[in-house]
């Protein structure tokens, strides 16, 4: 039994010793952990030179979105430029056409006025002439009747042998000439009457000319409208082209623009509170032990003005700042949780 008790005592003792070793180690570990935690929290609460590195790659969602937008915008810009050129040519042509029509209008108006004046002047005179012609024709008709009576006399005389055939033919020819003259005179009368009618009333020809005049005016009005629309379109497209060009130029200020070269780009998020030491060419430091044993790893290349949101690498709270491009001699430093700007955070 004593041996059992001794063994039990030994076992208890070894358990206690082991427990104490474990307990001391654990307690000091917890204490060290708490101290490190407090130190880290305190350090990052007061330090104003840390930055959070970020690596952008061409396959990032934002890079892909920017690339897509730039391609679409460039394509739209080209289309707009082509359309503008076409619109401008169209506009020039319409203006020329309008000028030509506009030049034609007064000439047409003048001609119409002249013709009207001419008609107004010649109409009554023609009317008088026609009446005279008509009276003459009436007299000629009477004469023609008498001549027609003579034609039967010629036949009788020829039959009677009082005249020769040639005389008869000559006589008939003269009689026919008289008939022809009467007919010509009647034709002249009709033509005169027609002319009188044309001069003294509004004929279809005049109507056609007036229609033409109206058509020209309408063409000018339509051209005016089309020119107005085309001018507005040219103006709008010019503004759009300018805006798109500006937008594309602004995209060059976007940090994701750098990834369009096809390679990853080391950047860093600088919180607004930590920009005191930020200048182009400022040194960048990376530390082996979070904030101790630091070395210079690169410089600041350029700053991007747009605001960015991120998560604080230590506190895991929301963070606002802007991106800067780094030029790193040690590429692996871009994978660190934090880097430091301007100087080492501590003395070493």
């Amino acid at each position: 039994m004593n041996r059992c008790d001794d063994f039990r005592r030994m076992a208890n003792r070894s358990v206690v010793v082991t427990y104490r070793v474990f307990a001391i180690t654990s307690l000091y570990s917890v204490l060290a952990g708490v101290l490190v935690y407090a130190l880290l929290m305190g350090f990052y609460a007061v330090n104003r030179s840390w930055i959070a590195p970020v690596i952008l790659s061409p396959s990032d969602r934002e890079s892909l979105e920017l690339t897509q937008k730039l391609v679409t915008s460039t394509s739209t810009l080209e289309d707009l430029r082509l359309d503008l050129e076409r619109q401008q040519k169209n506009l020039a042509e319409m203006r020329t056409h309008r000028a030509q029509i506009q030049a034609l209008q007064p000439a047409l108006a003048t001609a119409i006025a002249r013709e009207r004046a001419h008609d107004r002047a010649n109409g009554p005179e023609l009317q008088t002439v026609w009446q005279q012609k008509r009276a003459a024709n009436l007299r000629t008709v009477k004469l023609d009747q008498e001549v027609s009576e003579l034609e039967s006399t010629i036949d009788e005389e020829l039959a009677a042998g009082l005249i020769t055939k040639s005389d008869a033919a000559l006589g008939k020819a003269q009689l026919n000439q008289t008939h022809m003259t009467l007919v010509d005179s009647k034709v002249g009368e009709v033509l005169l009457r027609d002319s009188v009618m044309q001069k003294n009333s509004t004929g279809t020809q005049e109507l056609e000319i007036l229609d033409k005049q109206a058509e020209l005016a309408s063409q000018i009005a339509q051209l005016d409208i089309s020119i107005g629309v085309a001018e507005k379109q040219v103006q709008t497209e010019s503004v759009q082209i300018e805006r798109l060009s500006q937008a594309i130029a602004t995209a060059a200020d976007n940090p994701y623009y750098l990834t369009m070269t096809g390679s990853s780009v080391p950047l860093a998020l600088v919180p607004y509170d930590n920009q005191a030491d930020l200048t182009a060419g400022a040194p960048v430091f990376d530390c082996y032990l979070n904030m101790m044993v630091c070395r210079r790893v690169g410089t600041v290349k350029q700053t991007f003005p747009g605001e960015q949101h991120a998560t604080h690498p230590i506190f895991r709270t929301d963070l606002r700042g802007f991106l800067i491009q780094l030029e790193l001699e040690d590429a692996d430093s871009a994978k660190s949780k934090v880097l430091f700007l301007g100087h080492k955070p501590l003395w070493f």
């Binding site: 039994m1 059992c4 008790d5 063994f7 039990r8 005592r9 076992a11 208890n12 003792r13 358990v15 206690v16 427990y19 104490r20 474990f22 307990a23 001391i24 654990s26 307690l27 917890v30 952990g33 708490v34 935690y37 929290m41 230590i314 506190f315 895991r316 709270t317």
Partner: protein
Amino acid sequence: MGKSKTLIGALHESKSDIVIVIDSDCIFAKNTIRELVSCFGDPKMGIVGGKVGVRNPNDNVLTQAQTFVYYMAFDLWKAPENWTRTVTCVGGYLLAIRRHLFEQLEPTVLNRNWFGEHIIEGEDRFITHHALLAGYGTYINTDAQCWTKVPTRFPQFFKQQIRWRKSGIRDLFMTLKTLPRHAGVVHGNGMYLLVVPPLMFLVFTVAVLTAPFFWPLFWLNPVNVCFCLAVGAILHFVIRRRNPEQTVSNPLAFLLFGFWWVISSLYLTVLSCLTLDYSDWGSRAKPAEAAVPVAESAGEADAGMGLNQAWEAPCSTQTS
């Protein structure tokens, strides 16, 4: 000597059927003894305790916060334990126990050790637990009121809290080790209360130790502060109405509790878990007693944690 031995000594000097234990710095109401004793009308009742209030609620912010916590403990946390007469810890500041039960537990109490290291604190929880294991009920009679002075300084306060936390953790391990003995003897609610709440301390501690890796500023969560403000307001109202002598002049003191959980998990529980081999009352430091001789610890009752229970079967002897 340690409180355990003092109590046993006093037990031997007394003759009554019911023994009442109080702390020397407590004062109690006129009807306290009657209220305590009246609960023993139930033959299954083994231990009855009283409700402790704070005599110095407005000494400083620390005592004000403790006043709220004490009130919550007895009016809220102990209530579910009372339902099934399975209070897991009847505090030694005001405790009444059946004589024969105490005598039955005497050897166990005296031989408390942790792998041979004698334990002197946490005897109230130990006795309560063993009363439950013996098949008795335990109860807190909130009409049996006493008042005590709570620590006014942080070192004193932390020593007290470490003592209490350590006893809770010891009790948890003892429960897990003797779980089969509880089946059929202790009510299910009692078993739940013996295991889950103390286990949550450990779980919470693990959560607090790992939280910085996921949420570095977890301790600044304003939800806890807002919650404590709300609870403090309610408690302040209730205390003013029901126990005006404990009215706290600054209800905002309960805000301290909003940050207490971090300290409790990170400091108290860790320190308690890693100093189970060290038993010290703290406020009354005594040199630790030598390890209990194995021959004395052999017996029918469980002698606390350690290899005793496991080694009893093959090596124990029945000493007279």
